[in-house]
């Protein structure tokens, strides 16, 4: 494992002119009174690789949902690529979401479609009639290492392989930002490590990656930027952080 980290220790490309994601005084209070995020200010630049860490219910998922504008912030402003999304109209959301590639803990694959069809689905519904769809699908499945599983169905694959299909589907339209919400939550340590390697590889190609996770081992091994959220607040933001504050047992 440590060998793999050594290979990836080269600094990621930094062309930090304008942040690709920025939060300005963002708070989110749900209608039932739950305060999920409080006064969050941060900037993530093109090519960054960030871990978003914190206990369950700390606000990680809310953070992700605000980014893709599944939820709107109660106060504050959020910019993606210089565009304010906090007050974006419903009509513009599809365009916004195409900037993201998103994977979740539960993969969200269509069980009645093959691996290739699952990946192609993302292109079919966003860019119908696109040429060379098959080649694009095969290329992205090659990137995630599933080039020999094109015609398998999701239930014929292992958990790690299913997550790779989800990653391929999220990558096929070449997103600017890759969001992974607990992508290793259902996977054993070795498989998890493989998925993280894949995300690092995607990041190496210039895509901004944001990974919300509980996985302490992974965070501590990779040593990239860590944004720690607890009780809705950003309690720590370190360039090469660890899961817990150095030398303590707290975030």
């Amino acid at each position: 494992m440590s060998v793999a980290v050594a290979e990836r220790s080269a600094a990621p490309p930094q062309h930090a002119l304008r942040p690709v994601i920025s939060f300005h005084g963002v708070s989110k209070v749900y209608p039932n009174g739950t305060e999920a995020l409080r006064d969050v200010d941060l900037a993530i630049h093109q090519g960054d690789f960030c871990f978003l860490v914190g206990p369950s219910g700390a606000g990680k998922s809310t953070f992700v949902r605000l980014l893709i504008r599944d939820e709107a912030p109660s106060t504050g402003r959020i910019f993606i690529d210089g565009q304010e999304v906090s007050r974006m109209s419903h009509r513009k959301l599809p365009k916004l979401r195409r900037k993201f590639g998103i994977v979740f803990q539960d993969y969200k694959l269509l069980q009645r479609r093959t691996v290739a069809q699952n990946v192609a689905f993302a292109l079919q519904v966003t860019r119908p009639g696109q040429r060379h769809m098959r080649e694009k699908v095969e290329e992205v499945l090659w990137i995630v290492g599933l080039e020999d599983k094109l015609d398998k169905f999701p239930d014929e694959l292992s958990g790690g392989e299913q997550q790779r299909v989800a990653i391929a589907r999220a990558l096929v339209h070449r997103p600017r930002i890759f969001l992974a919400d607990e992508p290793t939550g259902n996977l054993d340590p070795d498989t998890s490590w493989g998925i993280v390697q894949l995300l690092l590889q995607i990041n190496h190609r210039g895509t901004t990656v944001l990974m919300a996770t509980h996985n302490r081992e992974v965070v501590d091994l990779v040593r990239r930027r860590v944004i720690a959220i607890d009780n809705g607040r950003v309690v720590r933001d370190e360039a090469e952080g660890q899961y817990l504050r150095e030398g303590t047992a707290t975030l």
Binding site: P94, G129, A170
Partner: protein, 297 residues
């Protein structure tokens, strides 16, 4: 262009796939809709048939005979006749002389012999009116009675009682038919909405992914709307055929009866087209409502 065709293909393909995969629910929906369309079509046809029959009765009933006094001058009669002819409520006016009245009456042999015995003609001349609307009849009747040249003993002749009853019946039937049609239409929209909601629910992961990767709302909506339209079309074809068959049987059975119902081909064709278009429209609208909840957020 290529993009539009591909979208259309995607929508058609998934609509068909959806319909087949949820065949049980789809067919139940189609069947219920067919039943409702059948009831709507049936009640419309029934109303129309009753209407036609009653209107036939109305034609017979919308005559008004104004008896003229023997003293009336020809000039006064001509004047009165032309006034009636220019009345917008009146279709036609014919003048019947005393002789014509006698001739008409003589068709009955006993009256003929009575006339012979009398030697003179006691029957009055008259103006025979056809009136457009039954509802105008009593008013024209009242106006005619005021005219001085009218025979004072028996001024006019029309069957006011039957006519007013007929009028009420026609109005009631038309209203009841319209209300029933509206109620049934609302029910069928609700049914389609729930059928589609079931279909949408079984595909919520797919919709979630579509939204996640940035498909537009209309792209998500179209397959379901097409599915609803397909269901509506099938239901309309099925029930249209049944309504049409039932109508023909009804007309045949009524043939030779007292109230023989004419087969109104033009109305039937219009009705079938309305049922088809209506079925498709209701299907589309129900789907639109059914999928709406899942697109919000």
């Amino acid at each position: 262009m290529r993009q539009i065709l591909a979208s259309l293909w995607f929508a058609l393909h998934s609509a068909g796939q959806n319909f087949r995969r949820n065949l049980g629910v789809s067919l139940a929906g189609v069947f219920t809709m067919a039943l409702i369309i059948f009831l709507v079509g049936g009640s419309l046809l029934f109303t129309h048939s009753v209407d036609t029959v009653l209107q036939g009765q109305e034609q017979n009933a919308s005559h008004l005979k104004i008896y003229l006094s023997d003293n009336a001058s020809l000039a006064a009669i001509t004047n009165f006749e032309s006034r009636l002819k220019h009345d917008p409520r009146v279709i036609s006016v014919t003048f019947e002389t005393k002789d014509q009245a006698a001739k008409q009456a003589s068709q009955n042999p006993s009256i003929a012999s009575a006339l012979d015995v009398l030697g003179s003609n006691p029957l009055p001349a008259s103006l025979n009116l056809d009136v457009k609307k039954l509802t105008d009849l009593s008013q024209i009747n009242n106006e005619a009675k005021m005219t001085p040249i009218v025979d004072m003993t028996t001024p006019t002749d029309y069957n006011s009682d039957v006519i007013s009853k007929l009028n009420t019946v026609i109005t009631v039937i038309q209203w009841v038919g319209a209300i029933i049609a509206i109620i049934l239409l609302t029910i069928s929209i609700v049914i389609i909405m729930n059928t589609i909601r079931t279909a949408v629910y079984s595909r919520r992961t797919e919709i979630e992914i579509m939204k996640l990767v940035g498909a537009t709302d209309w792209f998500v909506r179209w397959p379901f709307i097409l599915e609803g339209m397909l269901g509506g079309l099938l239901a309309a074809i099925f029930s249209g055929a049944v309504v049409f068959g039932a109508y023909r049987l009804f007309v045949q059975a009524a043939q030779g009866n007292l109230l023989s119902v004419p087969f109104d081909a033009r109305y039937t064709i219009t009705l079938l087209i309305v049922l088809l278009v209506g079925g498709v429209a209701v299907g589309a609208f129900g789907s639109f409502l059914g999928v709406r909840r899942f697109l919000q957020a």
